[in-house]
Symmetry: C2
Subunit: 239 residues, 2 copies
């Protein structure tokens, strides 16, 4: 763990604030990766397609830094109750953030591998889906940085809308493939991209659930069963 | 946390053993879910297709139990050094195990949504890939339960073979779709299934990396960049 202070012994509150700042920074980078992924696919923005994967090493490094600082806090400071829950939540949330960054990088890379010129394939559904997922992630990270249980509940509530977008995307893309075999290549990529956006939405919901638990000391009232059950999306395309 | 003993105060070692037993049990259930997923797809085994998702609630409950016990251990026992790293690793590893269970359940559900009768589509590649992923997961869980860094290194080394299977599956499935539009439906499902097996392999590698770190106190020498870089799989189908 890098020490950026000449004082070797920091106060407990300072160390906890440092952990929070690391989480906020990791959240911010991952948010920007998702924005780049959306631009890469829907605006065919090549700079964004390069930028999202380029941030991966920073995200991985922050995950390791959070872990190192958490272990230090746990070993030396014996945090209790709310602080302990917050540190444990941070350890789990970095896993979700790392995965989100990973999915965003994957979407961005994939966006450069297909061409929609001369095709009828529309990106408008994916654009709306991407925006909603971005919005949900932003709220989840707000909930995290402000330890705001109410915000967390909002994210959790709108995950269903993401699933509905995914279902309609899936249907539309398979139809394009059936209509013209030249659509198979690009639509296969778009299927994975839609799935990755759906997974990002899932992880944003995980983050919201963990923030809620850390703040409130209990689970969300009607905690969503992880991995989906018999939703409408499920019947067509199970997760 | 359920207390299965009349003694309300257990020894520290007993509680740590209890945590290890929970992890081993969670690993065992997830392993059986992956075996069921392989059978569901490659043997068209409908009982297995039902069984894998049915185990999801148990996995979710174990994830919560591990978290509750970890928080208890951290709050009351102030574990140090190796034990502390082991508890932190357990908290992260349950996240990987939960995701693996999720992917296995998703594969199992999906296996019932398509029919390969009257098609030329072969499942032999997927069968081999599924077996290799199962084998890697088994090794990762052995490494976890035995805190065996050497085993962990083996998993990490064979992840590349999983990626290579995935690449060749991807190519074969797209070819089937191009050849006959009637293959588009089943092959779309098989694409996602292959991707999910690849992701399971990824998470098995994550587990191995975390076990290595918990045991050795340092990262694997040539730690794999998460989320893939410019591998052969990457150029065709980025993760």
């Amino acid at each position: 763990m890098p020490m950026d202070s000449v004082h070797t012994v920091k106060s407990y509150e300072q160390e906890l604030d440092r952990l929070r700042a690391m989480m906020a920074r990791m959240g911010g980078i991952v948010e920007s990766q998702v924005a780049q992924a959306v631009a890469a696919v829907t605006e065919r923005d090549e700079a964004a397609a390069q930028a999202a994967p380029a941030q991966d090493p920073q995200v991985d490094a922050l995950e390791r830094d959070v872990e190192a600082l958490s272990i230090r806090l746990l070993a030396l400071r014996s945090p209790m109750a709310g602080d302990l829950r917050e540190i444990v939540a941070a350890l789990k949330i970095t896993g979700d953030l790392e995965r989100i960054g990973d999915y965003a990088a994957s979407i961005a890379r994939r966006s450069t591998r297909f061409d929609l010129a001369d095709s009828q394939v529309s990106l408008s559904g994916l654009r709306s889906m991407g925006r909603l997922v971005q919005e949900n992630l932003r709220r989840a990270i707000d909930a995290l940085t402000q330890q705001d249980a109410e915000r967390a509940t909002e994210v959790w509530q709108s995950d269903r809308a993401v699933d509905e977008y995914y279902t309609s995307m899936f249907r539309a893309l398979v139809t394009y493939m059936m209509e013209d075999p030249r659509n198979i290549g690009p639509c296969t990529h778009l299927l994975f991209i839609a799935k990755n956006f759906e997974r990002i939405g899932d992880h944003a919901t995980n983050i919201a659930e963990r923030v809620y638990y850390a703040v409130m000391g209990e689970n969300l009232p009607a905690m969503r069963p992880r991995g989906g059950s018999a939703s409408s999306a499920e019947s067509l395309d199970p997760r």
